[in-house]
Symmetry: C2
Subunit: 474 residues, 2 copies
């Protein structure tokens, strides 16, 4: 899709639809909504609109179809794959006014929420009713729940509780052609037609714009135990991960942090609770949760018995809520800490968890070959390793021509280990031209066919997810 000029007539139409005060063509607004948390990119929309209901979105999309104007849905701009960047300018469509928790249904353990609600706000609102929404992305304090659905976000608790897709029961959405539909029903089970709900989850705003989300909830847990295990060897930390599950324990979090990740996070967060021993290469942050403290002690003991077979320092048990919060704050700060340190590219590799040591070693070897430093951390219990490639002293030429070859090798390794490109960040803009590593032309043509079915004029979030050149069908 080529860039289209937005005429004064289109602006006037947009103002008619959403009201004059919710259409923005000024540079400051356009620039602010042209960024997310992906590298240092800037792709401002030609005009930003802030609709407040599905009908307005429907009208905007119909207008966009008539004039073939690209429309990019924009959430909280915390994305890490560039999904919300208006790379073809056009209309940026901010979902920030969809910010209502419509109903917390305590009788059915469900919540109906608009997509612009901040994830942590949702978590806390249901917790007030003794209910639990488990998915917990590190950006929960600022990201929108709609973005979580669009990217199929995960986070630390996915290892026990699953990812966003496992909580979405039903979606109200506006199709790219303007029709407003529900994708399913508000039921825990559903074997009624094709699963449009799960097709939408993770489709990164390319198949429709989500306007309401019905999610299931769980009864809340009352207790957690959190432990930090320092390893002398990073690969050994990865090895310990699958051993814990084989001991019959499913932790509620099982996070891996390379030494650098923790060290940079400690420097980034002021109230650092502890020093790191000189010979420590990595940490596992492990949580168990439930309602029965004696069970959690038993599980923590099983975990201790597993990790003590490896070369570790003393395990730190967080005894108080403050200690627990401090550790989680560090873990959540890792991404920002790395970002504050240098321009970087973040890859979101995921493999079957037993393959983690091979993945980590392979990444380091590829780094040596291409001359880049990487800082790795992530949700090891899911086999999900975030690889932060640091620009540091690399030249712009190396950064733009050589490093992508190294990234390609990382993804080839990931796929050879039966993993894939992204566990929870999505493909968006920055990974789309690696999609040929995970999928052949038959698979990509199926995905393109789905895109064309939903969005015949290709107006919605063009240039995302699917590679620029799919090639001839085999």
């Amino acid at each position: 899709m080529t860039t289209v000029n937005i005429t004064a007539a289109v602006i006037a139409d947009l103002e008619n639809i959403v009201g004059q005060s919710f259409v923005f063509a000024d540079e400051a607004t356009r620039i602010a909504y042209g960024r997310d948390e992906t590298e240092d990119f800037s792709f401002p929309p030609a005009v930003l609109v802030k609709p407040s209901n599905p009908k307005e979105i429907s009208d905007i999309l119909q207008l966009a179809n008539r004039h073939r104007i690209p429309v990019t849905p924009i959430g909280a701009r915390t994305g890490l794959s560039g999904g919300a960047l208006s790379i073809h300018q056009g209309i940026g469509l901010s979902m920030e006014r969809f910010n209502t928790i419509i109903e917390i249904d305590e009788k059915n353990l469900q919540v109906t929420v608009e997509p612009g609600v901040i994830t942590q706000t949702l978590q806390e609102a249901v917790l007030d009713k003794n209910l639990f929404y488990p998915p917990d992305p590190s950006s929960r304090g600022s990201c929108f729940i709609g973005g979580n659905v669009a990217e199929n976000a995960g986070g630390a608790r996915a290892v026990k509780y699953g990812v966003t897709k496992d909580y979405v029961l039903n979606l109200e959405m506006v199709l790219p052609t303007g029709e407003i539909i529900w994708t399913g029903a508000n039921t825990l089970k559903n074997a009624t037609g094709y699963n449009l709900t799960q097709l939408m989850v993770g489709s990164e705003g390319t198949l429709g714009i989500i306007t309401k989300i019905v999610m299931k909830l769980l009864p809340k847990n009352t207790h957690t135990i959190l432990m930090l295990v320092p390893f002398h060897n990073a690969s050994a930390a990865c090895e310990a991960v699958s051993e814990i599950f084989r001991a019959g324990v499913v932790p509620s979090a099982l996070e891996f942090m390379e030494r650098d990740a923790l060290e940079w996070a400690l420097r980034y967060v002021d109230d650092s609770p502890m020093p790191i021993g000189d010979h420590i290469q990595a940490h596992l942050l492990i949580e168990v949760d439930g309602n029965y403290p004696e069970v959690l002690f038993a599980e923590a003991e099983k975990i201790s018995a597993v990790v003590e077979k490896f070369d570790i320092d003393e395990i730190l048990f967080a005894d108080t809520e403050d200690q627990k919060n401090a550790l989680w704050k560090l873990r959540r700060a890792a991404a920002e800490a790395v970002k504050s340190n240098s321009v970087y590219k973040e890859e979101d590799t995921v493999v079957p968890r037993y393959e983690l040591p091979k993945l980590l070693q392979g990444i380091k070897a590829i780094g040596l070959k291409y001359g880049f430093k990487s800082v790795c951390y992530g949700h090891a219990g899911d086999g999900n390793l975030h690889v932060n490639i640091i620009k540091g002293d690399l030249t712009d030429a190396e950064w733009t021509t050589e490093i992508p070859k190294g990234i390609r090798e990382i993804f080839e390794l990931t796929v050879s280990l039966k993993g894939t490109l992204s566990g929870e960040h999505g493909i968006g803009l920055v990974q789309k031209n690696y999609m040929d590593i995970a999928f052949n032309t038959t698979q990509l043509h199926l995905m393109k066919g789905i895109k064309d079915l939903f969005d015949p004029n290709g107006i919605l979030n063009p240039g995302k997810v699917l590679p620029d050149n799919i090639g001839q069908q085999s």
Copy 2:
């Protein structure tokens, strides 16, 4: 799609593909493979083939595309919505030779299995390795895991552990046009392109033929407590269901059986363990599971405290494995017991669980209006109620013209309660012309578009899932 004659040349081509001994055109075989467990239907294929690998299936589908011959995938023929019936004759494609458990991956808690493996065989094989495959359809002793994936089967444990879709990580499938693809990756998390895996699960053999399934497993649980609670009032039993969750307990099974369902099952199963009190109208069968007996006792006490607020008789606790097995055998026998009693139609209604009392009362009122008796039981924890409509003394005319009007009213009620047509049996043949109750033409055209994308010639399992007439797009 119209019925096509299978010529001698086509038979010869099929023999070339799978070998002469795996092509069957004799009447006995055709009739045997023309039935499943749906009512008393008989739709024999013109010819039955038994391929043994994806390449053979690919060749068969390419042949079928050249001649526009309908192909119906056939599993264990335990389906309850007629999905495996060769309603347009053509080629019946039995998956029974895909009967290998390829790998139980203890390191990653995954299993790779062919679709023709019996579900219970899979459950027991992984249990031997101390692993747990939770989905547990009542037909587990005879159904195929591939059929479970095609229908997104559930069963009693879905209330705590989810349904088949929640365990499928990756699928090898043959597209209707013959290409062999994998749908995803062997990872717990995946945010890489559109979710073809979840689009396939529950698509009832209309979008492709599954040839390998990669599923996640859990560590096994060591203990269960099973309790049977007799209620004086069936609606009260339904009300108790959502109260249990609101007390903070998630049982591993929460089954509802109307008096008739249990009584008929007791008569059907020889070694009946107990009589039913005169004034008992319904039972809840409730299981909790885990590794810590003291926790299960505490949870069972919480459940007891909830149900004792209702008008119940004494709770029966199954103390031994034999007693537990006897109770589960009764519950699983309910469907067969009803079937042995009369011709019947089974609907698989599902609603948010708090709406169950309204659903049950509504069904009984609709039964009075149309003069039919119904026997209801099901997975009440999921809001999933199986409604068995008994032919009994109804005339054939009443059965074929009046009863469908009553069924339409049942589904209208279900959808008005924010539920849908099928929780776990699928739409197949018998519910397809009720799909307009759950979906409007926009939604149905999207589903039809997906079908046409995957299967441009409409050769694969034609006449299933989607209604005969979708109508003009609104």
